[in-house]
Symmetry: C2
Subunit: 236 residues, 2 copies
Amino acid sequence: MDRLKKNVAIRSESRTRERLLQAAESMFMEHGYAATSLRGITARAKANLAAVSYHFGSKEALIREVFERRLGPLNSARVAYLDRLELAARGKPLAVERLVEAMLVPALQGTQDPLARGTTFLRLLGRAFSEPADHLREILPAQYRQVVIRFKQAFARSLPDMPDQELTWRMHFMFGTLSYSLAGNDALKLIATCNLEDADDADAVIRRLIPFLAAGFRAPLPDMQPARVVSGRKAA
Amino acid sequence: MDRLKKNVAIRSESRTRERLLQAAESMFMEHGYAATSLRGITARAKANLAAVSYHFGSKEALIREVFERRLGPLNSARVAYLDRLELAARGKPLAVERLVEAMLVPALQGTQDPLARGTTFLRLLGRAFSEPADHLREILPAQYRQVVIRFKQAFARSLPDMPDQELTWRMHFMFGTLSYSLAGNDALKLIATCNLEDADDADAVIRRLIPFLAAGFRAPLPDMQPARVVSGRKAA
DNA sequence: CGATCATTCAAACGTTTGTTTGAATTTCCG
DNA sequence: CGGAAATTCAAACAAACGTTTGAATGATCG
């Protein structure tokens, strides 16, 4: 298996393999995993149907590779970004704005350069969190573990009075906003009553997300009394 | 067609139809739309395969009905909740906490009673926003339009200094957090380094989401200068 | 009861799915 | 060049898909 891979790389560098990955990334993003057929992928990649089995072994292995080749570098870049920030701060706790920034900037960085190729993966990634494809349930936790651990430490240092449980929840909320917001404007168009100017401007999204999320992290703790519900009679 | 429906209701009230809807709701939630087969649904509903065609006409019509029978009442309840709040406030602007509450409480209200039946739909709904099934792209905007318009007015009144564009973005962020947070703990487990106590307690989620989102809405406006990027050399 | 409708059922329809096969083709290196 | 390895290709595979059919069963009312 390793020998085979090496020969692939040495010989022709397998342009087909790369075309398949890009086509799969696009089509998984557009139609979802289950709704995308290998015939559609290979047609788009201008490759033969059997090429998927030959290069990856199965459809499942293909989607796994689509994620791993992107998610690993992305999360490594996030941690590296955080490392640089902390180094520059010389041990002082960072503002939560900087931590959110460290989650966001690497994600949207590769966007403008390769002509929205990075954006394609981000949309796919946003979908992946809600897609129940069994293969992903095993991939994502492994890919995200280091990021979660590392950033949680940093957040705890920046918000020393925040209980651990509450911090985990707020990071959970942050991931939700990210995966939804970065995942593209399809859903955005659903709720926008007026067309947003900057809908496709990644930088604008970052600048708007940072203060929004940072304020959420700094929000006062919820009072954990029994929930109040406004009934028809007695309104609050 | 109308005659047929009426007879269905009069005669046997079609228990089968209801079982199909519930089975479809569960299975769409667990495996997604495209990955769920009619054979799986009918098996779970203990109905015949042809029952779907008979009662709904097609798989597409089935999923449409699954959404419409839930989303309409949910969004109506949200607007009604907001109406009551504004009535009680006698024209005074509401705190953004109350507006977020009006989005949340109706969504999680039916949760505990029918033994997580409401929760099932919420997870499905969260997925729907990222699922690219073409049928949903037409359903969701129509179902959400009134909610968006109504709540945007209310938010604008509560946050008079917020530019319209910024408000739209922050509502967009809110929808992201909601659909991700309410959609269930599958994704939550992905990032939780420690097990959360209240992961299944809807009230606890509400109490934690409200201050988080309200603070986000009240966050200072972003400075719309060119984005700063921390490079390897010069850190910020 | 008998007629009439709604509903269920087993079986089959034609497509499309992911995967496999074995031969043809291309690429590489001695 | 020539042989070996890597890659492509058209064709076929069984399995699963959504949908349709026509007869069997059930309920309803004059």
